[in-house]
């Protein structure tokens, strides 16, 4: 394979300026050699035609569940990393609710090392907030950090004890690690399968009300303000939650937030058919909430879009709604469904969407991101005009629990450049 490439005629996203420019990009030996209006083709360089396509730094996903170790039947670090690449993601942050959980340096180092061996999308481990995710004693963040951990979270569960959360924020803050909160007060959500709304009132399904997010967020934000530490809000879902984050940020509380493609695009009406592919925690909310999330993407209240890629096997999903596990996969479909729903409809500027998937999450992790000559080539090429079917053949994940499974999607990632490698999809 040639190790020299010239990408011609595409619109490249420059995160440092948050702008799109039509340029040619030359890649040599895994680095960006040249960026110019036109680069004349060289005989030994492979030309990649990118007319009407987008070139962006590789996408970053702050929130995925890769299930290894423990549930390798539903996803492995390898299959998850492939699904990431096929979706344009070159960096993913793996939540620690595996079995065993990522609560020690050894567990974190296992993921970091495996990620290096694979040489696919980079997998950055997230450590637990508490040992065994029990919500009682804080984990060894110092040692976890040595194992490669970039943040801590007991995602899936909220830290019920305010004292534990306070100390977690203080201790993680000392090490510069964000604490990621799954903001749902659990006593209000017992056995709940969907949002509390007109839809749940008609269907008789047990609920996880939006106020559970508010209650949890109010406390977490108070503790972030009190400790001065960085709180990152996973999968924000409610209009009121958006207001709380916006207000806290205006007071310079160190709060950042992410939203998922499914909460940005789908509402609780989808539960009317009792299809477990729409069962997710936190649940899909109302149209009003969805609109508030989109508005929060625009005004900067939300800094990142994260997939919350959560693989579950078909046999567990194809059950009564009460019994099916919550979650959906999203790595491979995120950019396609977001582009069609938000960019094709001119709801959001393409620069903003790309920022939310690159520089936004990078900044949550305290990293800078630039597209410039001399940097390692960490890029993807996306054609927004191409249609493809997300099915058993194209799916790279071991699981298929997605509402978009079997559907024709518009917009496809075609090339990824990462660490001297070129992947073509």
């Amino acid at each position: 394979m040639s190790d020299r490439y010239v990408i011609h005629g595409g619109y490249a996203f420059f995160p440092q300026e948050k702008a799109l420019k039509k340029v040619d990009i030359e890649i040599a030996e895994g680095r960006i050699k040249k960026i110019a209006a036109t680069i004349s083709p060289e005989s030994d360089a492979k030309a990649i035609e990118a007319e009407n396509k987008l070139i962006s730094p590789g996408l970053i996903d702050l929130h995925v569940h890769l299930r290894e170790p423990g549930r390798e039947d539903t996803e492995t670090l390898e299959t998850g990393a492939w699904a990431a690449l096929a979706g344009g993601f070159t960096t993913v942050c793996a939540m620690p609710n595996t079995c065993p959980p990522t609560d020690t340096r050894e567990q974190a180092a296992f993921i970091s090392k495996r990620s290096e061996e694979l040489g696919l999308a980079r997998i950055l481990p997230i450590g637990t907030v508490t040992k065994k995710r029990e919500g009682v004693e804080i984990a060894e963040y110092g040692m976890l950090k040595e194992g490669g951990v970039i943040a801590v979270s007991d995602d899936g569960d909220w830290i019920v004890s305010a004292e534990v959360m306070r100390r977690a924020l203080e201790y993680a803050g000392m090490l510069g690690l964000p604490v990621i909160t799954h903001a749902e007060e659990p006593t209000m959500c017992a056995d709940g399968v969907m949002n509390e709304s007109t839809v749940s009132a008609r269907l008789g399904l047990k609920v996880r009300p939006s106020v559970a997010e508010e209650v949890a967020l109010e406390r977490d934000i108070a503790l972030a303000a009190y400790t001065g530490s960085h709180l990152h809000v996973a999968h924000l879902t409610t209009a009121r939650g958006v207001q709380l984050v916006r207000e806290a940020r205006s007071r310079d509380v160190k709060v950042t937030a992410e939203a998922t493609p499914h909460h940005l695009l789908l509402t609780d009406e989808k539960l009317s058919e009792f299809d477990a592919n729409f069962k997710v925690n936190p649940p899909l909310r109302t149209e009003e909430d969805r609109k508030a999330l989109v508005a929060a993407l625009k005004d900067g209240t939300i800094q990142a879009i994260a997939t919350d890629h959560a693989p579950h096997p078909l046999e567990e999903k194809e059950q009564e709604l009460d019994l099916a596990p919550a979650g959906m996969i999203g790595l491979q479909t995120a950019l396609s469904v977001l582009w069609e729903a938000l960019i094709d409809t001119r709801t959001l500027a393409p620069e903003r969407l790309l920022a939310l998937l690159t520089v936004g999450p990078a900044e949550v992790l305290g990293r800078k991101l630039e597209l410039k000559e001399g940097e390692p080539a960490d890029l993807m090429v996306f054609d927004p005009g191409v249609s493809w079917v997300f099915d058993a053949e194209s799916n790279r994940s071991l699981s298929q629990n997605s509402p978009w499974f079997g559907k024709t999607l518009k917009g496809k990632v075609q090339h990824v450049f990462l660490a001297e490698k070129h992947f073509e999809f």
């Binding site: 007109t198 749940s200 009132a201 009300p209 009792f274 046999e315 059950q319 009564e320 009460d322």
Partner: protein, 311 residues
């Protein structure tokens, strides 16, 4: 009329003519039940499977009897919910049924959407005999049947449904059925037992906590069974307080119309949501509801199985 639905999963979405057609068909079977030999050969050769994943006496007996009165072969099984969670999945059960080639399936299950889950996956017709707190359409039909028998048309009549609205499939089917047939539906109970967005979900519904006021001028009072488990979850403080606020006593009943009809889906908690002398009094149609249940279930089995009715 030609019936165009494969299943009966709920009363939501059924048109006035469709509800009336079922009720009119049930009238004919109600007469059959009065005969010395209350059988018709309408479903001879058809097999109906009754699957009860939740404890039930009256509904399961009623369906079994309805099937037998129509000369169908009725096969049944019951299973506790906990056993279901440990054992065979519903999907495997569905495949088993498919391979046995039954004509119709009646299912009672604790999870909303369970009947729909089966109906989407088999060719046999499916009747929902109660799916969690979602719907219980044959109960709704027998309530409509009993009320209509007593009051004639339901157009312009008022019904008050009292008690645990949140967890009640009986409420959900009745609310849709009665309002489709032109009745004004009101509910009454403490806010802890009424879904928060109920008023927006059913815009014509009147919602109140004051039982005494709500009774005024009502044609039908439907009392729901109060489940003791709700107390442990903090949804109401005690039986004695519930009784004080929401028990239908003879004294309270005076506030309703003089010819008011009192209904209860059963099983009753005598002395908790309903005073025994009201339950057994002249306004009560509780036992008539049970007989109506058999007739209504015969009607829907007959309609869905496409059977022939003898003259």
């Amino acid at each position: 009329m030609t019936w165009k639905h494969k299943n009966l999963l709920g009363l939501e979405g059924l048109a006035v003519e469709e509800l009336t057609f079922i009720l009119d068909t049930a009238e004919r079977f109600h007469e059959v039940l009065e005969r010395p030999i209350p059988f018709v050969p309408a479903l001879r050769g058809k097999t109906i499977l009754n699957m009860f994943y939740e404890p039930s006496t009256r509904t399961s007996m009623s369906f079994a009897m309805a099937g037998k009165r129509l000369s169908a072969d009725v096969v049944g099984f019951s299973k506790s919910t906990s056993a279901v969670q440990k054992g065979e999945t519903l999907l495997d059960t569905v495949r088993t049924i498919e391979s046995m080639r039954v004509d119709g399936v009646v299912i009672r299950h604790s999870c909303p959407g369970a009947a729909r889950f089966i109906a989407d996956r088999i060719e046999a017709f499916v009747i929902n005999a109660g799916d969690g707190a979602h719907e219980h359409p044959t109960q709704g039909l027998l309530d409509l049947f009993s009320a209509r028998k007593r009051l004639g048309s339901l157009e312009g009549k008022s019904i008050l449904i009292v008690g645990d609205i949140t967890h009640s499939r009986v409420f959900r089917s009745a609310a849709v059925g009665f309002s489709t047939l032109g009745a004004k539906v009101s509910v009454c109970g403490p806010p802890t037992l009424i879904p928060k967005e109920l008023g927006k979900a059913y815009p014509d519904l009147e919602i109140t906590a004051d039982f005494d006021r709500a009774l005024e001028g009502k044609d039908i009072i439907m009392m729901l069974r109060m489940q003791l488990e709700r107390q442990r979850r903090g949804l109401f403080p005690s039986i004695r307080e519930y009784r004080k606020l929401y028990c239908l006593t003879a004294e309270r009943l005076k506030k309703a119309k003089s010819d008011v009809v009192v209904m209860h889906p059963g099983p009753m908690n005598r002395g908790i949501e309903i005073e025994p002398r009201v339950a057994d009094g002249p306004h009560s149609v509780v036992l008539a509801q049970v007989r109506a249940g058999v007739a209504v279930r015969m009607a829907i089995l007959y309609i869905l199985a496409g059977g022939e009715l003898e003259r």
